[in-house]
Symmetry: C2
Subunit: 488 residues, 2 copies
């Protein structure tokens, strides 16, 4: 988890003078940041786990400039860290500590190139925020169906490069499922002009899906064609108290079988997590008569006119109440109530922060194994650190639980955090036994590279290495991410 | 289009004696075919475009045997053509004419390894027919939502290796959208054991999407985890006479906006094509008062109970009739009627065959460009060959039209077919201008390799070549497919 200690850093920009001048020729003065104060925000990830150093930050204005800069860096053998909104949870966009890598920010490339309400496609540049992309879709009367907490800052390029997930994956898939076409600058500065708007195209290898999720290590995404869907006209949100993780799973299955196309989100929360939210977040109230050990949040939505979603919600919940699957449920009566229920879920991270130290795990298992994960993960952690508090929450409908552990009440935060790796390993051991993944939606970044060999070693990692070597033989693209380097 | 003339062929098995004996050691007598009569079916594609030769056919019983055989072939530098149900439309599974490649059939590997009604996943071996996979899903009360005409013969491995499409792509995507995990034997005999059942997993490159659609050139898919969906409980099918291609598109858009999750298929047919079906196919009748120049077939389906799809179908069609978008429509009153309407669509290929020679194009364009494709494609072909008959039909909802051209009445079939390339080029020129693809769902195979340089040349083809060289440096896997070899 701790970053590698920095090598003796060259003076900022030292040794990079020639390259910097050549880059300035390409991007002009507005495209180059060289002052320490201007550069600082690009050198640290937002979780504050990594403090890198970079000789300068380049902010190209268009694809041709990106290509020229990459070509130049390739000629100089200088590494590049592509950076979008800098909201990585795993340090995936932070330069190394030895000031050997320049940061290439896509932030100036934010043009909507095209939006088509018949094709239901949005063609947009990588530096646009996801929020801006959502708004462009909305302007065409459509929905860009992926939503994550950081969407106001996170950029299209970063969301695609990390294959972001979020709350609506259960209905619309991950970021990769929204990508029809990509424009990518490769490590040699050549450009894949793949902004096709086709639903079917079997002409060779599916390159776009290789760049999506590669975290900028194979190429720099400069623009994308995204798939849009019709906007929902009815939305219903309910918060349910459920007697057990198994009951939560049963409830999810019932909604899925009833009308899978309407299940927009299905989130799990623990009693412990909800207690923290209610204790720390001003205005947070539980819309149920009593607290519970387990909660499920379900959102139904549909573009169908007169779909009667409220009746569908009530029907499934009444049956579940009768069968003892649900102990109590509240269906939101207004948009404000819906937002209030969602807030109970979204404020989990903040409530944990206010409670003290916590260790985060972004894991996934097959959906059917979620109850096993919750029970076995709890037992394993409590046996490791007595009185630690298990705060699992997240996207139950797609098997992705943020299995977070809060420090014991009154314990020393630093002492607790010093055991981060032990705790993560403990959770991961359960996850692995259940056929799961150590990173469901956050990616590998720099934080989790050390897990790659054990989890994806052998033929998988070897294949990834071969692809990396084939597409970026000099290793100049985001060299600190994804691959285990210097780990045995 | 014509295959390369065969090199002087070695005697069958000549030069392969040692390899054959070693392979026999691995797979035993039931796993090896060496008699000419046994081998013959594997040497020709089902369209009869290619007549390859192979020294022997190996039929491994399990993944370990596949890996051992591949390792052996790698050591001998002998090429392998993986073959599933041998239903490729583009010669993608036929060995070359010089008897230098062995055929590896997956047909004996057809075990259902797991089916899970909670996870909604099916884990199945590559040699199972797609039909068998569908039946396994059905046995668990679920639907494997991809349907193609050849599903009784086509195998899971081939369908994934070619990223098959079919009638329901508009709703569920292509084959790649159904793949959660893959087991793949690589060119060196190592095995990617990636049969994960996860909806979210961001741990390095998305290798599965690289093997899907690679047509067996990067690895041999031996098993897959496929995504299932709930079975529809209501289905409605309508045949509509529409006044123009633009009206057909408008109708599609109306259904999509009304309830995208219910649009299971949206097919276009021309008046010319329908006339051929009605003339040649016994029992085919038009359920409309008059013939039309353009038809649309729409299928709605949903797992929602009491969804009232019939009313939804009627509502959209009545509005469309009132607006002049639809001239006449028939909603099927029974399962038999639904099948009869679908038969009008499915028999298009057979009707064309009975009418004489025809040239087939499996092209796609952005959905919004379908009317342009139909008009401009027709004009271009009629100007090339006066009185040829344009018989476009297919998956309008995903932009994929089988733009087929039937010979002029009374013309010499051979003379017409001699101009196949000219006709294909004529259609492709229009497709390209509209931002489309020369192969929507059939793949490249051997038939269309010559188009790769022009259409996907530059950085895309170079990237594909690098990936191929990285994963199969000796070039032993399906060497005749996908890449342009010996073309300028």
């Amino acid at each position: 988890m701790a970053p590698t200690p920095p090598l003796a850093p060259p003076a900022r920009g030292g040794g990079f003078q020639e390259l910097r001048n050549a880059v300035a020729e390409i991007v002009g003065p507005t495209g180059l940041l060289t002052e320490a104060a201007d550069i600082a925000p690009y050198e640290t990830d937002w979780r504050g786990l990594y403090h890198g150093r970079t000789p300068f930050v380049v902010r190209p204005a268009n694809t041709a400039e990106v290509a020229s800069v990459v070509r130049l860096c390739a000629a100089h053998g200088v590494g590049i860290v592509p950076q979008g909104g800098n909201t990585s949870m795993v340090g995936g966009a932070t330069p190394s500590e030895d000031a050997s890598q320049i940061v290439l920010s896509l932030a100036r490339m934010r043009r909507v190139r095209d939006v088509d309400a018949v094709d239901m496609t949005l063609t947009i540049e990588a530096g646009a925020t996801w929020k801006a992309a959502q708004q462009a879709a909305e302007g065409a009367g459509a929905l860009l169906p992926l939503s994550i907490a950081s969407e106001g800052s996170a950029q299209v390029g970063g969301i695609l490069a990390t294959n972001a997930g979020g709350n609506n994956t259960v209905r619309y898939g991950n970021a990769r499922d929204l990508v029809l076409g990509l424009e990518v600058v490769l490590a040699d500065g050549s450009v894949i002009a793949g902004l096709r708007r086709l639903r079917k195209d079997n002409t060779g290898y599916c390159l776009r899906q290789l760049f999506v999720g590669a975290e900028g290590t194979l190429g720099i995404i400069t623009a994308a064609v995204l798939r849009l869907v019709p906007r929902p006209v009815e939305v219903e949100v309910a918060l349910c108290a459920v007697p057990s993780p198994e009951a939560a799973l049963d409830l999810f299955t019932r909604f899925q079988r009833h009308d899978p196309a309407a299940v927009q989100a299905f989130e799990y929360m623990s009693g412990t997590g909800m207690d923290l939210v209610l204790a720390h977040i001003p205005g947070a109230t539980l819309p149920l008569a009593e607290r519970a050990e387990h909660y499920a949040l379900v959102e139904l939505a549909t573009p169908r006119p007169r779909a009667g979603l409220r009746a569908a919600m009530e029907e499934v919940l009444e049956m579940a109440l009768a069968d003892g699957i649900v102990a109590d449920a509240a269906i939101a009566e207004s948009g404000a109530r819906r937002a209030a229920i969602w807030r109970l879920r979204e404020e989990h991270a903040e409530a944990q922060r206010l409670e003290g130290a916590s260790v985060k795990n972004d894991v996934s298992v097959p959906v059917s194994k979620i109850p096993d994960l919750l029970r076995r993960g709890r037992a394993a952690c409590e046996s490791l650190i007595p009185r630690c508090r298990i705060v699992p929450f997240g996207h139950m409908g797609d098997g992705n639980i943020h299995f977070n552990i809060a420090q014991p009440v009154g314990a020393d935060p630093a002492a607790f955090l010093a055991r981060s790796h032990e705790i993560m390993d403990t959770v991961n051991a359960v996850v692995r036994d259940l056929g799961g993944s150590f990173s469901a939606e956050h990616g590998v970044g720099r934080l989790k590279t050390y897990l790659m060999r054990e989890w994806r070693g052998g033929a998988e990692l070897e294949t990834m290495r071969r692809i990396k070597a084939a597409l970026d033989p000099a290793g100049i693209l985001n060299a600190s991410a994804v691959f285990p380097v210097g780990h045995s």
